[in-house]
């Protein structure tokens, strides 16, 4: 098998697009977006009536945010006003994901929904046997997602029709990394898996010391993720061989962001770590809060992370650049727009900081 590199770099969306968790499948976060100065005010704030536990996504002038009220909200980024909402039967913990004209998300009723990005009209739904907290990831027309029922699913992103499903040993809350030929995903039983993208067949599995909530990133043939066993792992994408692992002070559910051969990842010990992708050597670590479970986001020399507020750190040194005491969440990831940072919080509030 050829070495898989960031398969989507050639098809990266436009700069105002933020199609899935950490912007796109390169898992770089906001790389390429313009740098942002410390925010001086909130352009607007909106309350959407339910706790937000996932990251919003951005498309043009619309921000999509899902909440535990079971609604997916489309918000006009100019005004903060709602354009439409789609009411799912149960809570939504899943970060939405965009594909063509569709917005996809998982729901606690065990289904993945696709709704139209402009109207919120339901286009299709796909069923699993348990809650879907992971963000559905689309690659080459196929949506990939895990479920709490212990299975991993591949469905036609255009119709929702099931292509294959693969039984895994534990709950799957980790958002998959979908490359051209392989899918990489973590599992609640502690295994990291590589699945054949076409068939779902397990290509390799690596057992870590505890469950995996973190969503893997792939860069230069290396798969990176964190485990609840306190370690950051770097695996060879082809074989699963452990290239290096780095120990933090507590479990990791934060997902890594990768840029310029550096992997940024938070730990429940409250530190944000910057590690060299090739060696796992620590470049810096900064205490950003009591606990970090949210994925960091990288943008033009700045790393953003939420930990009961939003922080911006100098990507080269880890030095705190600014902190906004808004967005009381440790699950969400900020979305970097043009001169604006959008953050969502546990209280159901969404802010546009500028």
């Amino acid at each position: 098998m050829s070495r898989e590199t960031a398969a989507f770099t050639t098809t990266s969306p436009a700069e105002t697009e933020w199609v899935t968790l950490l912007r796109d499948n390169t898992r770089a976060g906001g790389q390429g977006a313009p740098p942002i100065a410390p925010p001086s005010r909130a352009r607007w704030q909106a309350r959407i009536g339910g706790s937000i536990r996932s990251a919003p996504v951005l498309h043009g002038s619309t921000l999509y945010a899902a909440s535990l009220s079971g609604k997916l909200h489309a918000i006009n980024v100019e005004t903060g006003r709602e354009k439409w909402n789609f009411a799912a039967p149960k809570q939504i913990y899943s970060t939405p994901s965009r594909f063509q004209e569709k917005v996809l998300f998982g729901c606690d009723d065990g289904k993945v929904y696709a709704v139209h990005q402009d109207s919120g009209a339901k286009l299709w739904e796909a069923s699993t046997g348990g809650e879907v907290w992971a963000s559905p990831v689309v690659c080459q027309g196929t949506a990939y997602f895990g479920s709490a029922d212990g299975h991993f699913y591949a469905a036609d992103a255009g119709t929702g029709k099931l292509r294959w499903k693969q039984a895994l040993g534990g709950r799957v809350y980790s958002t998959a990394y979908a490359a051209e030929k392989s899918i990489y995903v973590g599992c609640g039983d502690g295994h990291a898996h590589s699945l054949n993208a076409a068939t779902g067949k397990i290509q390799w599995s690596v057992l870590t010391g505890n469950g995996i909530d973190s969503s893997p990133a792939l860069v230069g043939g290396t798969v990176l993720f964190g485990s609840e066993d306190f370690f950051v792992y770097a695996l060879d994408a082809n074989s699963g061989t452990v290239l290096w692992k780095y120990e933090t002070g507590l479990g990791i559910s934060s997902s890594p962001a990768v840029a310029d051969d550096v992997v940024y990842v938070g730990s429940k010990d409250g530190f944000l770590y910057a590690l060299a992708v090739q060696t796992g050597k620590l470049k810096w670590k900064t205490r950003a809060g009591e606990v970090i479970t949210a994925p960091p986001v990288f943008s033009e020399g700045v790393v953003y992370v939420q930990s009961w507020g939003t922080m911006a750190l100098d990507a080269a040194t880890g030095k705190l650049l600014w902190r906004a005491e808004l967005g009381g969440s440790v699950q969400g990831a900020p979305v970097i727009g043009e001169g604006v940072v959008y953050v969502a919080g546990n209280g159901g509030e969404v802010y546009a900081l500028e």
Binding site: A42, W133, G188, N210, G211, I212, E228, D229
Partner: protein, 659 residues
Amino acid sequence: MQIHIDKQSEVPARDQLRQQIIFLIGTGQLSKGTELPSVRELARRLKVHHNTISCIYSQLTRDGWLKKRRGSRVVVGQTANSWIEEFADLDDLINRAIRLAGSRGYSLQQLTARVRARLLAEPSDHLLVVAPERDLAELIRAEIGETVGHEPEACSASVLQQNPSIAIGAILITPSYFAGKVQPAVPAEHTVVAISYSPAAEHIAAIRNLSQPSVIGVVSVSALFLESPVSSVARVLSFPTEKIFRTVLAIQEKVIVRFFSGRKMRRPHQAMDRRTFVKRTCVSSAALFLGGMDALAYDDEVKIPPPPAIDVREAPLAKRSPLGMPGLYPGRVVELSDHRSIVGNRVSQPIVRQMLERGIRELTGESSARAAWAKFVEPKDVVGIKINPSGAPACCSSPELVREIINAVQSAEVPARNIVVYDRFGYEMDMGGYQVLMPPGIRVLGVQDDRLDASGYDAEIYCQADFFGEWETRSYMASVVARQINKIINVPTLKDHSASGVTGCLKNVGYGTFSNVARSHRAPFSFTNPLIGVMCSVEPLRSKTVLNIMDGTRMVWHGGPLTQNQSFIYQAGILLVSTDPVATDTIELDLIEKKRQQQHAPSVWERNPKSITANSGEFYQDASKNLFYRQPGHIAAAGKLGLGESDLKKIDHRQLLMG
């Protein structure tokens, strides 16, 4: 130009003047182009120095409010509404209004009252359905939405009680029988529209005309609604029956299916009276509470108010379960110690498995763990595992231990679908990663999504007391405990608590089952004693709690319940297994006291006002400081309520060293 300077005010004259001119412009009382008095004229009129006026005029000119015309006086430079356009953001508008009101001498309290009054006086802009419980409100909302083509908002009565401001701008819609209860909760001028259900006469007639003994199914999303047909049928059926035989055959999320047949039916009024009302004054608790203080009295001891009486409304049981607290083995606590159970702050699941097996066998005297577990759970049970995630991620019920308990419950042939891992707060469970780390097939449930979510509680079972004049004086039992599970395995952590002394078995299962419990402690005073014990005594919680497995792999000896400070978290490597929560908590209290003594921290019984701080940052860094006068007497008080043994000397404390 109406300007007045209050020289007694703390607001400097300069600021008063500036704000008032802006206010006059902003409200249109000074229109664009209007000439302002000369500097000297205004200074003379207001009896302030002319330099003050000059300075204000210059500043307002710089800011664009005024303009200076060559050779003439300053004039207003903006239209009345231009500043409103500039501050189009709602927060900015509100901020501006607050500042202006302040400059006119209005207090924030006056402002709050007037804003609220004005909002209430505004015409309604939406419909709000209020019903006794959330599900019924949703049902009514959906039906109104279908009929009128516009879906109203909906909430339960308890949510409205907790947050009356949600009625602002709403026309309230409520069932006619409930209108009398809703009206007092909203201002008199508010419209409350009473609605009636369709009569059930057609359905009752059909039941009456049944030609043979039949089983009748009633389906609704509303648990409350289900009670009505049950009692209605009981009332109209005339054949001599003594007992309503009701079984919850299926509970799938919010759809509850109840079947009942007409044999041996009770009298209707008995059938309807399914709750009892109990008042527990807790005199014995109060005596213990004060007794504990006497033993450690300081010269400058603070006067701690006595606890109020607590009213309890609970579900009546035909017979209290012998498995319920204090359970099959009162006064017996098995303590297992194995240093290998936690290494480098990581819990070892294989070692915990060995400890758990050994502990359950020692507790029961059975030779096999499977036989031991069969004493507590049966294949038909729905088993709740009550964890404690509140200190996650630094210290919470270890997922490794919870996984082993699940394995053990499954070994007693309870299917995965009938196992629920639960706690009050979903977001704390997220922090502990339980959703991810539990095996597939079992349910992981947070009763509340956020602090105000009341939908997961049973309005019929509660403890009521007014501790500090709080608005909501009731704490309701979680529906999952009241209705869905029939056995509870309690898995607390071993940790101190700033208000109750320790948070062990009793607090985990009591405060973790009822809503609105934080109201029992307001710094520096705490009424966790006696509320913790009283809550544990409420049925069906008492009968359903059959086993306690305290996770002492980590011991928090200061900073509980939420600390993340590893300096106060000792990797103790122990488990406590018992059916008796009082005896277990008594051992826990002793362990924590010894550890605190070793660390030169004051006793959790200390009543020295000098140790109290209002600064939580200080509390989290300094083991000699605390936020409350702790009340560990709740353990002995629970013993007085019959929940277990609190005398350390009488406890059968079996200590097993495993590694």
